[in-house]
């Protein structure tokens, strides 16, 4: 009996081993429904700098864009870029976006994260020494976050093994560099990357798709050699400081369109035509080698200025949900973002009742209130408005009513707050009230608790909440709201990720005030690491940001201001300014030719506020 059992056991083991050895060799056919087994990426890796050594080491030449399938916007952005921009405090520690980070020199380290119980692969981590880029590639099948989630240098990455490659797809990447001479990669870029390992030789291939700045995907490959030991060189610390004293905060180093003084430098140095090194999709195909011999200076120079014709419109995806529901995103501590009803709504909850910043259009007010009640069963105590426009105040009346608290009526506190017990108290700058009365908006939604000074403060649910007036940005009635402990700033329409800034000159807005307001936001932010993280910035419309998005937006407004100012100085009329396309490098990100706020309206607002500055 015992011998029979042993015989069975032996045969069974033999069959198992035979199966593994034999049938394991071929693996399942592609698409068999079984996940492809992975390979081990773990270890220390060092990039072989045998391609593009100058770019990756000392740095690329000015205006060297050859081989990149860029569009006009990217080229003009790059030509406008003055490297002195990195002297600005908020740019000093800018990190690299994921694909450019891998392309950089330095060391990298990869390791696996596995579930301790099932041993399933949860994530692969990739750490780049340069800018301390720490990346997580999720391998557990989780979905990518919604479009309104924050962007980071490394983006949100998910991976699968396909064939002999680890295939990674990344979204939610910050605006950064295709090349660090000013050639941009937008915040709309997505990547597909392939890691293929042949022994100690790792080949990394990135495919970047960017609807804003590329006409077709750009493909690049980078080689890594596996290192047997820890090179012990992992840090790339950065802290910003004063570099240029006395520079006005609204000054952003840039070259006016068509006036980059170094655009010919590379051509003269290497004897190559400008048409080639200024890039474009044709420059990456073999046929362009023949064109290199016949290209003229005139053809190259024509690409240094905006082309005539209608400006392109935004190719960015709309980050806001439009499905008739309110979407809730936890921000930090007890603060949440509510999206879906026009302007962004921020809610702080706690024992003292909800504190709400802005109320959306009001079309989904009932759902907004229901969402808030899921977060807290306490009544809404306060509503703060960042402005008076209806996409931020439309829900005021309904949310105010939702703050009714009969237990408070007639109490001592009723003397302190005008709305106590009746509904939530609506706070805003006095000019919000003035405008809403003038527009004959429903009285129940008009702020009753207003302020005239630059600052209104209130301690609520354990956090110091401050409102700061911006006297001439979108209108004359804007405020930013800061939760000091949660470290969250709500900007209203001073800052959005969806359009050129709305500047209502007729109602007190101005481009100068807009730039000042953006700088006021930046004066209150602190990044966590390499210019990202830290203070959360909630735009009036769009996705969750930090200071990096604000500083890029500030740069844009200041640069467009400079261009329009220069044109005015040369005697240009409004029509001539519009024809000159001073927003050409930003049109594919923020532009519109129809709708409530077009590119032409923005240029006109800049022009008018410069011609007749606010007093």
């Amino acid at each position: 009996m015992r011998r029979t059992f042993l015989l069975y056991l032996t045969v069974l083991l033999g069959v198992v081993v035979f199966s593994q050895v034999c049938f394991g060799q071929g693996g399942p056919p592609a698409g068999a429904g079984r996940p492809t087994p992975g390979f081990d990426l773990s270890g220390y890796w060092t990039a072989a700098i045998h391609e593009d050594a100058l770019e990756r080491g000392g740095g690329p030449e000015t205006a060297d864009y050859g081989g990149f399938p860029i569009n006009e916007a990217a080229r003009l952005f790059g030509l406008s870029y003055n490297v002195s921009r990195v002297t600005l405090r908020h740019h000093q520690c800018d990190g690299y976006v994921a694909p450019y980070s891998v392309r950089s020199i330095g060391n990298a380290r990869a390791w696996e994260e596995r579930d301790p119980h099932t041993q399933r692969l949860i994530a692969i981590h990739w750490y780049n020494q340069t800018f301390e880029g720490s990346r997580t590639i999720w391998m557990d099948g989780r979905p990518h976050p919604p479009p309104y989630a924050p962007h980071t240098w490394m983006g949100f990455s998910t991976g699968t093994f396909v064939g002999n490659a680890l295939v990674v797809q990344a979204t939610h990447i910050k605006q950064g560099w295709l090349r660090r001479n000013g050639l941009p990669e937008s915040d709309q870029a997505t990547t597909v990357e392939f890691f293929v390992r042949h022994g100690d030789h790792l080949t990394y291939t990135s495919v970047i798709t960017d609807p804003v700045y590329l006409t077709e995907p750009v493909v690049r490959t980078t080689d890594f050699a596996r290192q047997p030991v820890d090179h012990g060189n992992w840090l790339f610390a950065c802290d910003d400081g004063e570099q240029i004293f006395g520079r006005a905060q609204d000054q952003v180093p840039n070259y006016l369109l068509g006036q980059n003084p170094f655009v010919k430098e590379q051509g003269e140095k290497y004897k190559i035509p400008m048409l080639g090194y200024l890039g474009g999709p044709e420059t990456m195909y073999p046929e362009f080698a023949a064109k290199m011999r016949t290209a003229t200076d005139a053809e190259g120079l024509a690409r240094t200025r905006p082309a005539a014709g209608a400006p392109p419109t935004s190719r960015a995806i709309d980050p806001e949900p439009h499905d008739g529901d309110i979407h809730v995103l936890p921000l930090r501590n007890n603060v949440y973002l509510l999206l879906g009803d026009g302007g962004n709504i921020v809610v702080q909850v706690g024992d003292e009742g909800a504190f709400v910043v802005d109320t959306g259009t009001g079309a989904l007010a009932a759902k907004t209130i229901a969402a808030i009640r899921k977060l807290s069963d306490k009544p809404i105590q306060f509503v703060a408005n960042t402005g008076y426009r209806p996409d931020h105040t439309g829900g005021n009346a309904a949310l105010r009513a939702a703050g009714a608290d009969p237990s408070v009526v007639g109490s001592f506190f009723a003397l302190g707050f005008a709305d106590a017990g009746i509904g939530a108290t609506i706070m805003a700058h006095q000019n919000v009230q003035n405008h809403m009365y003038a527009l004959k908006m429903p009285a129940a939604g008009i702020p009753s608790d207003t302020f005239l000074d630059e600052r209104r403060r209130h301690f609520h649910n354990g956090d110091a909440i401050e409102m700061f007036q911006e006297p001439s940005a979108v209108t004359d009635a804007d405020s930013i709201v800061q939760f000091r402990r949660a470290d969250i700033i709500v900007t209203g329409d001073i800052f959005t990720t969806t359009q050129f800034p709305f500047i209502d000159v007729q109602n007190g807005g101005s481009v100068q005030g807009e730039i000042k307001a953006l700088n006021d936001i930046l004066n209150r932010t602190v990044y966590q690491h390499e210019s990202e993280g830290g203070t959360i910035v909630i735009p009036g419309h769009g996705y969750v940001c930090d200071e990096h998005e604000v500083v890029e937006y500030r740069d844009m407004v200041a640069i467009v201001r400079d261009r329009v100012q220069a044109l005015i100085k040369n005697g240009a009329t409004l029509e001539q300014v519009k024809t000159a396309r001073p927003t050409a490098d930003y049109d594919s990100r923020y532009g519109a030719t129809s709708g409530p706020w077009t590119t032409a309206m923005f240029v006109e607002a800049v022009y008018n506020s410069l011609k007749q500055p606010p007093k």
């Binding site: 033999g14 081993v17 293929v196 798709t209 490959t221 362009f288």
Partner: protein
């Protein structure tokens, strides 16, 4: 009496225990030794059988066994080393190539007219440098065990032999042997779990080269050069397919260290743009 009974019982139990231990030892020996021996035999047998192909039949020809389809027309995407590839750089511009002192010295003496006069205008089109020249590749199977890679730049042909190589080498493309490279254990087997990846790439080793250039401006490689390449096909979710060739050039004569590049191409649906041109030394 009672004590004797107890002693007898203890003694009996002691001997039964000894017997049991002996039996256990036999069991242990059988349990450990028999399967181990059997497994070893099976591994040996299985490895032999499976090396010849599934089912123990005759080995599949490399063309049939290919884990990846590299055939078709492919066009260079010149997004790296653009200045060095789209035009001939000036003499002495070594870029990223790790030439040693001898290599640098030779590169400084580059004279394209001299190459032309000697009939050596194809020096930059040899196996170690061919793929870096912008152009198109046409990849086909010459027969079941020979992959043919034609380049329109310089009208060159490289043959990759999965079987015994033909020819003696000594020309621009040398002799290239090839194999399918799949992830596998150095021991050839694993215990349990998922089988190795279904994917793979073509690995090739090229030797017996006629001395040539790594770059058109006369960056030299010698007849001692060994070129190791991995040919990967990457399918992008947008429908594009990429051919990525990871190359290691080892030349103890003119390179200070192995020279690593990766060159990428995009798949074309047809022969559009295929334009065989003669070599150019300039």
């Amino acid at each position: 009496m009672r004590r004797n009974v107890i002693d007898s019982t203890l003694e009996d139990a002691y001997y039964r225990l000894l017997e049991a231990e002996e039996e256990l030892d036999q069991v242990r020996t059988t349990v450990y030794a028999a399967p181990t021996l059997t497994i070893a035999i099976l591994i040996s047998t299985a490895t032999g059988i499976c090396a010849q192909g599934r089912g123990g039949g005759p080995p599949q020809p490399p063309r049939v066994a290919a884990p990846v389809d590299l055939t078709g027309y492919w066009v260079s995407l010149v997004t790296e080393d653009w200045r060095y590839r789209m035009m001939t750089p000036p003499k002495g511009d070594f870029g990223s190539v790790p030439l040693n002192m001898d290599g640098q010295k030779l590169a400084q003496s580059w004279d394209p007219a001299k190459d032309e006069a000697a009939g050596n205008q194809c020096k930059a089109y040899g196996a170690a440098g061919l793929l870096r020249i912008p152009g198109r590749l046409h990849v086909t199977w010459q027969d079941d065990s020979t992959l043919k890679v034609e380049a329109d730049a310089g009208t060159q042909t490289r043959l990759f032999y999965f079987g015994p190589p033909q020819g003696q080498g000594g020309d621009w493309q040398g002799i290239s042997t090839a194999s399918w490279d799949r992830s596998r254990s150095p021991l050839g087997f694993q215990f349990f779990g998922a089988p190795p990846s279904a994917g793979g790439s073509m690995a090739s080793v090229t030797t017996k080269l006629k001395p040539g250039y790594l770059g058109k401006n006369g960056l030299p490689y010698s007849a001692n050069t060994v070129v190791t390449e991995y040919w990967d096909r990457l399918d992008v979710p947008n429908g594009d397919s990429l051919l990525v060739v990871s190359t290691e050039v080892v030349d103890p004569t003119y390179l200070a260290q192995p020279f690593w590049t990766s060159t990428h191409f995009k798949k074309q649906n047809d022969a559009t743009g295929w334009n065989p041109t003669p070599c150019s030394a300039r």
